[in-house]
């Protein structure tokens, strides 16, 4: 059954990547080249929103990789996403330079406001883009390795693992709210001016960020697919289906889990780094347990263990969120709650599963 899915997936993957390619190239084209009065013109606002969805989709893929294929329900992936976002945010803060409200040449506004005299040590190096991006990937990876090393070694599994991942993101939420942490406290990092010298407000920069998100999603998808199709991927699924048996056969379950978990955290970090310049702010609320659990529901809605299902789920749920929170804000939580309940009870395979089952029956 699982094998059959693979071979079917090859076709779907091609389809998915071509659609993604068309979107990645087409949306910036519709925004930049088509004049504003033409009905086919796409506003920068819409493009930015869809760019945000693409980063969410990448995040969803990273969760699907560990939940769908490894059986780890992580309720803390929002933490890795937010850490990546803070990495990018710190770079963007340093880029503001003397243009801040207080006009300090080095210190970001909030530090001047808090009467800090010099830059904390962990803010050094973030003036370089390459360093910030490296950190946006490395820090989530490091945290996931540290966390996973403890958790997987002592064979914490199932709901226990889920709950402690939630505790992890919750404690980070509390920590980042503190002004003394040096990450802007409650307000987070915002008021960004430009990235790599290009002004963030410009249409062309937005289009480039959109395209970058599309490319990152495509590459992330390919990388995950590569892992899944490899021998490592099969061992992953064996762990998911019967961890003890895999262990007894002789695989180092904890090492494999650690590798995949760290890779997934890195993907989430990349997604966060691409998310921040598009929305223009990063604050501690990204660490809230609700955010992390929402990611899981994107994957559940789209369909577990399919990768493209996670993308579909992320886009559908977030589109409805954007739509509903604007049109009927009080309904959104009802809708989200109902989605959690109905999807888990009625369509455990998600929308994609609904679709492929029909095809099988036909």
């Amino acid at each position: 059954m699982i094998f059959k899915q693979y071979f079917n997936n090859a076709g779907i993957s091609v389809l998915f990547l071509s659609i993604l390619g068309v979107i990645t190239l087409g949306v910036p084209f519709l925004n930049l080249v088509i004049p504003a009065d033409n009905p086919f013109h796409l506003s920068t606002y819409t493009m930015t929103i869809f760019g945000k969805y693409l980063t969410y989709a990448l995040l969803a893929i990273s969760v699907d990789l560990v939940w769908g294929y490894l059986g780890i329900l992580s309720l803390g992936h929002g933490a890795f996403f937010a850490l990546g976002g803070y990495g990018m945010g710190m770079y963007l803060m340093r880029q503001i330079g003397p243009r801040g409200e207080y006009g300090h040449p080095v210190l970001p506004d909030f530090m001047v406001f808090l009467n800090w005299q010099e830059l904390p040590w962990f803010w050094h190096g973030f003036q370089w883009f390459w360093f910030a991006m490296l950190m946006a990937v490395l820090i989530p990876m490091l945290l996931s390795v540290l966390f996973g090393w403890f958790a997987f070694k002592s064979r914490v599994t199932g709901v226990y693992l889920s709950i402690i991942t939630q505790a992890l993101t919750y404690s980070l939420l509390l920590a980042f709210f503190r002004n003394e942490m040096g990450f802007g406290g409650n307000n987070g990092l915002t008021d960004f001016k430009d990235i790599l010298g290009f002004p963030l407000q410009a249409d062309s920069t937005r289009a480039a960020l959109f395209a970058a998100s599309g490319v990152a999603l495509g590459l992330g998808y390919l990388a995950c697919r590569f892992i899944i199709k490899s021998k490592l991927g099969r061992v992953c699924m064996a762990i998911r289906d019967s961890e003890d048996r895999t262990l007894f056969i002789g695989y180092k379950v904890s090492h494999i889990k650690l590798c995949i978990f760290a890779f997934s955290a890195a993907l989430a970090g990349v997604a966060g780094a691409l998310y921040v310049p598009q929305v223009g702010i990063i604050n501690p609320s990204e660490f809230s347990p609700l955010n992390s659990i929402e990611i899981v529901i994107w994957v559940a809605v789209g369909g577990r263990a399919t990768l493209y299902g996670a993308v579909v789920g992320a886009v559908i749920v977030n589109y409805s969120k954007t739509f509903l929170t604007a049109a009927m804000p009080e309904v959104w939580l009802f809708a989200l709650g109902a989605l959690f309940i109905l999807v888990t009870i009625l369509i455990p395979d998600g929308f994609v599963g609904l679709f492929s089952k029909k095809k099988e029956a036909a």
């Binding site: 914490v156 709901v159 402690i164 509390l174």
Partner: protein
């Protein structure tokens, strides 16, 4: 007219006597030459000024006037009932009757009849003035016939002992007969002796004050040790201070312990329902926090229904919250959770969805804002053990409440047939069914029981924190931590885990601050679970393997 004059003379004589006895001062104004106490009249003039500095001066004069009417004046002033008539600046007591004010002259006691509000001007006070008034009231209360009132006044003055009021207390020592009040006065005189220039007097006072925990004693001693010249006195002060410090730190320890236990009892109350749903039937109920919130809202609604008897409403709220939350729990179990047994991760997601729906429902029905739930009088205030150690009443009540709930639950689980069946199903479902236990209804009952306990916890929490739609979210992670730390399926484990986590939290807080303390505890549990995945008290036997 004649009789009025007579009363006036009488009051003057009273004032004269009181002045002589209480303050030991000399009553300067001549009673017979002037029919009215000039200090008193002048002070009233000053009170009717807009300028707060002048009002303050007026109050000082009032205190110095030794006029018996001054106590009424300052009481009216602090109660906002002192006005003056705009036209002639006569200071009056005003009683509001509908839109009209009934006024009485302060000076003559004459009823000046009803008057419209716009003809009056209220004599406003500021913070400084109010503090001053309280001090003066205390001085006046020192001569109150009730010993309790005198004791309170003496204590308050002692707290803020200075050169100005020291003598008042010492002078009072001569006439005071009540033992309790005398104790306070003796301390005041000892403190005064400390600063005297005779070493013998100082040493004697030090001997009396040794081990005394009253803050002002400690304060005076720490100041004195800097300035004291005499060596033997200085050594004695050092010894007494060391003794006081030891006692203070012992009581500080007990206080932290008490706060920790009360924090822990909140943890346990929030977690104990979860210990049943998660521990006994293995359901991850992320909506547990919202069931707590519903319990708190039930308390709120019952208080709305009977606003005049807050204390009784709280007693009614306990069973009501149990029933409301319990019923909602059973509905959740019958409509959602029973389809998901054996799929814990899916249960987690579905119940999370339920928690969102319940939160939004409360937001829609009530409001997104916090609601104010009143605390009955017997729950406010505190039990004072000594000067540095007092137990807050509401926390004591909650600690006792926890013990009642916990032992009740333990009784249900261990001594009733329902409890027996619940344990049977949790230990071996198939075997229990073979013995004729209807497992499905036991599941629903257990879930209802756990949810009901959550509701009861909500009643307790409504007395401590804000009641709002987010109430539950704040406790859900803590509750899971407590259950997991204590060992799943073990009520005693939950109790010990909750109390110890709460205590640890309070002991870390002074060094690290509340947020960091919380983070440290979370990190500790994360590491602990990885070392002992089954918690402090793991289940033993076959049930643990299944």
């Amino acid at each position: 007219m004649n009789s009025l004059y007579g009363t006036r003379i009488f009051t003057q004589i009273i004032a004269l006597i009181s002045g002589l006895i209480f303050l030991g001062g000399v009553f300067t104004s001549t009673v017979y030459a002037k029919p009215e106490n000039s200090t008193f009249t002048n002070s009233l003039k000053l009170l009717a000024q807009i300028n707060y500095k002048k009002k303050e001066a007026g109050i000082d004069m009032l205190a110095a006037s030794n006029d018996p009417r001054s106590i009424d004046v300052v009481k009216a002033l602090i109660g906002g009932k002192l006005y003056y008539v705009k036209k002639n600046k006569v200071v009056v007591f005003a009683n509001k009757k509908e839109a009209i004010y009934e006024i009485t002259s302060v000076l003559t006691g004459e009823n000046l009849g009803p008057i419209k509000k716009r003809k009056l001007k209220k004599i406003n006070t500021n913070n400084r003035i109010r503090t001053k008034i309280k001090l003066i009231l205390n001085r006046l209360n020192l001569n109150h016939p009730e010993p309790q009132v005198r004791l309170k006044a003496a204590n308050i003055i002692l707290e803020d002992l200075n050169e100005g009021n020291k003598d008042i207390l010492i002078a009072k020592l001569a006439t005071e007969t009540n033992v309790e009040v005398r104790k306070v006065l003796v301390i005041a005189s000892d403190i005064a002796d400390l600063t005297s220039s005779e070493p013998e007097k100082q040493l004697k006072a030090l001997g009396n004050l040794s081990g005394c925990l009253i803050p002002v004693v400690y304060k005076t001693l720490t100041q004195l040790i800097e300035t004291e010249k005499n060596k033997s006195v200085k050594n004695e002060i050092r010894a007494v201070l060391a003794g006081i410090e030891t006692r203070r730190s012992i009581f500080a320890f007990f206080e932290t312990l008490f706060f920790g236990l009360s924090q822990g009892s909140i943890f346990v109350l929030a977690a104990i329902g979860l210990a049943i749903t998660f521990g006994v039937i293995g359901v991850i109920n992320m909506a547990h926090g919202e069931l707590i919130m519903i319990g708190a809202y039930t308390t709120f609604v019952i208080q709305l229904l009977m606003p005049n008897s807050i204390g009784l409403s709280l007693f009614l709220a306990v069973p009501a919250a149990f029933i409301v939350s319990g019923c909602i729990g059973i509905i959740i179990e019958r409509t959602v959770i029973r389809f998901l047994y054996g799929r814990p991760l899916e249960t987690l997601l579905a119940t999370f969805g339920i928690s969102l729906v319940l939160q939004q429902a409360v937001r829609t029905i009530f409001s997104p804002l916090n609601q104010s739930v009143k605390t009955p009088e017997w729950m406010s205030g505190s039990i004072m053990i000594n000067e540095v150690f007092s137990l807050t009443m509401n926390r004591v009540v909650i600690l006792i409440f926890l013990l009642i709930v916990f032992s009740g639950l333990l009784l249900v689980m261990k001594k009733t047939s329902i409890g027996l069946r619940v344990r049977a199903v949790s230990q071996n479902r198939n075997m229990a069914r073979a013995m004729g236990v209807h497992a499905a209804s036991i599941d629903a009952l257990t879930f209802g029981l756990g949810s009901g306990i959550a509701g009861v916890a909500g009643v307790a929490l409504s007395q401590l924190t804000n009641v709002g739609p987010n109430l539950g979210q704040a406790y859900i992670i803590d509750s899971f931590m407590v259950v997991v730390f204590g060992g799943v399926g073990n009520l005693w484990g939950t109790l010990i885990a909750g109390l110890s986590l709460g205590t640890a939290n309070k002991f870390i807080e002074p060094f690290a601050g509340p947020v960091l303390a919380k983070i440290l505890i979370l990190v500790f549990i994360i590491i602990f679970i990885q070392k002992r995945p089954m918690g402090l008290f793991p289940q033993k036997g076959r049930a643990a393997v299944a």
